[in-house]
């Protein structure tokens, strides 16, 4: 089992590939079905954001071991326009258009750790993790 992998995110097929890569890793680590479903859904949201709003990027997958706990960490990076107002983007119901406004705050609820860095012109980097 390789510990780290990177999935390029350039089109909607890559969003499907990202979901599949996360599913395989979560299954290998024997996460519960609900944990798997939440993490794959979170990955799908963020991968689509990177493709649609970020103009493409990549997703990194890492397996984390912290004492007896095992986790999966996903890092999404794009070089898109970035997000000017992070607090606003993290508000339920807010949308840049086309979505339901569930994207970022909804995704945050599906994972244990959520960290976002973004600034106009600097792209966006989001790191999420789910622990068993």
């Amino acid at each position: 089992m390789t510990n780290n992998a990177v999935v390029p995110l350039h089109d909607e097929q890559d969003v499907v590939r990202a979901r599949q890569a996360v599913r395989i890793r979560m299954e290998e680590l024997k996460f519960s079905l609900v944990d798997q479903t939440k993490m794959i859904t979170a990955a799908s949201e963020l991968a689509r954001n990177a493709v649609i709003h970020g103009g493409g990027g990549q997703m990194g997958i890492e397996v984390l071991v912290n004492g007896a706990r095992t986790g999966v960490r996903l890092t999404f990076e794009d070089n898109g326009p970035g997000i000017a107002d992070l607090a606003l983007a993290m508000t339920d119901g807010w949308t840049s258009g086309g979505g339901l406004g569930m994207g970022l705050p909804g995704t945050k609820r599906l994972v244990n750790d959520f960290h976002i860095e973004s600034a106009p012109g600097q792209g966006t980097r989001i790191v999420i993790a789910r622990w068993k």
Binding site: V15, Q20, T37, K38, T41, S44, E45, L100, M102
Partner: protein
Amino acid sequence: MERIPILRMGNCLLITIQVDMHDRLALALQDDLTAKIYATGAKGVLIDISALEIVDSFMGRMIANMSAMSTILDAQTIVVGMRPAVAITLVELGLELPGVQTALDVERGMHMLRSSLARKR
């Protein structure tokens, strides 16, 4: 381009989504479904999502849209077969699919459609 098949059963349409849908496929299904309702005059639609391992906000919106579009084309739509883990995830995501009628499986969904269509007659 691949397409998701829409089957006709009497005055109802049955869609079984069996692939990990990419976004364009979901959009094509929306077009195909509305065209098929228009062409056949179908009064009911069952969308079986039992094979879907996840439903994210995009797919959730597609499902809600298809349900709304079919309804205004006078075809009652029922989404069937959602997996428990998908239901848990959707609610935490904040997507409760308001206005979407659901049933546990195809059989129960078909029963719901038939009895509600019979009442309308």
